[in-house]
Symmetry: C2
Subunit: 395 residues, 2 copies
């Protein structure tokens, strides 16, 4: 029987109030202005001066590609998406996918407050299902620290890589796989209907979800979003389809942008952004106002594609607020929403939040307001998973 | 007599070689592949696994405006430059300028590896020269930790704020003031010749430098850059004029951009950027290729204008590399150059660097390459000022 946990004197986000939280058996039992420790024998964390918030969510990353804790590569990457995808030929040379690297990165994410991870694992005729197996092993060993869900990701395309469709069908039945991925069905794969038909049918058969990496910008990406909406409707997969990146949304004229957002809302398709580099920001407020679930992730973290990425979701949320020029608390706040409840809505996490009855996945970190927390991103963080403290700040 | 300091086994930037450094009397005495501790009785720092680099330079900030270590403000800022400048009416209400806040921020900068700071201090009929005095007091008390130079900054304009010209003339004679500032001579001040004539004449009389905040974008900012070049030429102030921000450089057509860069090079005018928000990036490589000195700073740090800013120059350099999508070491490296030698060139620091004879202002931090250092920005940093360790990582 786990000892109850009492978190006192914190400023609870998104409640926006000072409150105490009593946690029993992995669940938030009580949220109240003041809970007397004498009434509830429990370990007590004094969260005075801290924000208490639901666990951060890494909604888009690639644990199977990371070199974290391994050698640092001076030379990496290429200029185009196609060239970067071709780097997979170098995966074996670098020992990828690598359980040790994935595990090191995952544990770093935990220390930074991430309690849930969606990771896209390459599935193609070369690596087969080995990436899925390797990452599932890592996920299983860390199951007490963090929940990991996998997307079976046809990084090399479906039309372009015969045999991938069958691998995806197998992957969809494997434990831990919650979604089938996709990648630029037109711009990269060259035959959008072949890819979309395959991944939607596989997902439909398996009863799982879809998460498509759509980098294609402008009118091409817009057209692909329309296709994705058609497939979503045809197979009745509303609430089960996500588009990652969706650069088209920020690179088309306002009228078409408006039309795309309405389309996403109508077919209940969600969006995940990684705030990459200097790419135009997605229209955050238009998406939120339209009720389109919006989440975020780091995407590449120290891999063959890019030296960048830290695994810190507070940094990612800060980047959204900073690049958006949200200079004060009321404006900054939605960035923290996206990294928490927004991503939880995209991933459809069960009982997520800081209310009584929610799962006790929490982060506690110094800050007087959620705005200060995001601006300062303090290194000292307490992380609680299933009601157990899995990381404490170094004293 | 200070004890000599021997830094062993580090990877020295920008030498790009493993080397030991022997420091005596505040100066780098010897740089050699291996220095035997037995030959030189000295305190030894083992820098194995670390980058050893010259001190970071904060080339543009506002210590007099910061609320660092003070109350966190939920409400702040305004939409336009003019509205933000009007916030100065609220400075007194917040106890600004505040020696305690400025000191706290300055000491944080030191802990992050900054050994030299250029700070812009408001000079206007309301605050008079009090900001300059307050900041000079802070600078004097921290003189063993960090070198601070002040720009007397007419934040409220010169044409718009009668009496400012005379205050700037007084400020130019005060200890610690190395430059006269300026702010959007056309777009904000409304009468560019009045402002430019005043600040160039004051600087010329006092033998000090110029650093003008030019936010005006597009062709207006471009025209102002041409005016600044004319004044520079007329008063023979080549090598003594800096333009901060210079948003025009990234918001005009390529032909005009080229012309402006050539103009800067011809009149030996330097540029400082703060990488603000999502504003278009300056043409970094075009500036460097043209030989225009380019430095960087945080600008606002937790003040009435903005909640953002951290004081960490490694973070600022990372932001340049990240937003520029420089995905690998060889591409990332110029970002670290800008935060070190680039800013040193703009500020014309004497004997800056990691060669024998240079002042021993150094930072040591974990990293296998300068690229990894910038991507990871580790919190553990040793900071050396004038040959003395002024900050050590928490064990």
């Amino acid at each position: 029987m786990r000892k109850p946990l009492l978190i006192k004197n914190g400023y609870v986000f998104p409640l926006d109030a000072r409150a105490d939280l009593l946690i029993r058996d992995g669940v938030i039992d009580t949220v109240a202005p003041s809970i007397d420790p004498a009434q509830a024998p429990a370990e007590v964390i004094d969260a005075a001066g801290c924000i208490v918030m639901p666990g951060l969510i890494e909604a888009h990353c690639h644990l199977d590609k990371t070199l974290w804790s391994g050698p640092w590569l001076a030379e990496r990457s290429a200029s185009t998406i196609a060239e970067r995808i071709a780097l997979k030929n170098r995966n074996a040379e670098h020992g990828l996918p690598n359980a040790g690297y994935a595990d090191a990165l995952l544990r770093r994410m935990v220390a930074l407050g991430t309690t849930h991870v969606r990771t896209h694992t390459d599935v193609d005729p070369e690596v087969g299902l080995r990436g899925i197996e390797v990452i599932q092993g890592v996920a299983d060993r860390a199951a007490d620290l963090v929940t990991v869900e996998q997307v079976a990701f046809p990084q090399s395309g479906v039309a372009k890589a015969p045999g991938t469709r069958e691998l995806l069908r197998e992957a969809a039945r494997m434990p831990g796989v919650v979604a089938i991925g996709g990648v630029d069905p037109a711009g990269y794969d060259g035959d959008p209907h072949v890819q979309l038909r395959a991944i939607f049918e596989v997902a439909d058969e398996a009863g799982c979800k879809i998460d498509i990496h759509l980098h294609d910008p402008g009118t091409l990406g817009a057209w692909e979003m329309e296709l994705i909406a058609q497939y979503t409707k045809a197979l009745g997969m509303q609430d089960r389809v996500t588009i990652s990146h969706a650069f088209a949304l920020s690179t088309v004229e306002p009228d078409l942008q408006r039309r795309l957002i309405d389309l996403l809302a109508e077919h209940r398709i969600s969006i995940i952004t990684a705030l990459p580099y200097d790419r135009p920001l997605l229209p955050t407020h238009l998406l939120l106002e339209a009720g389109v679930p919006l989440g975020m992730g780091n995407d590449n973290i120290d891999d063959l594609w890019s030296a960048f990425g830290s695994g810190d979701m507070l940094e990612r949320a800060w980047l959204l607020a900073y690049r958006s020029e949200w200079r004060k608390d009321a404006l900054i706040r939605p960035a923290l929403d996206v990294a928490t409840a927004g991503s939880a809505a995209v991933l459809q996490l069960d009982r997520y939040g800081v209310d009584a009855g929610c799962k006790a996945d929490l982060v506690i970190a110094p800050g007087r307001t959620p705005g200060e927390l995001l601006v300062k991103r303090p290194a000292q963080r307490w992380v609680i998973k299933n009601g157990v403290v899995v990381h404490r700040p170094v004293a």
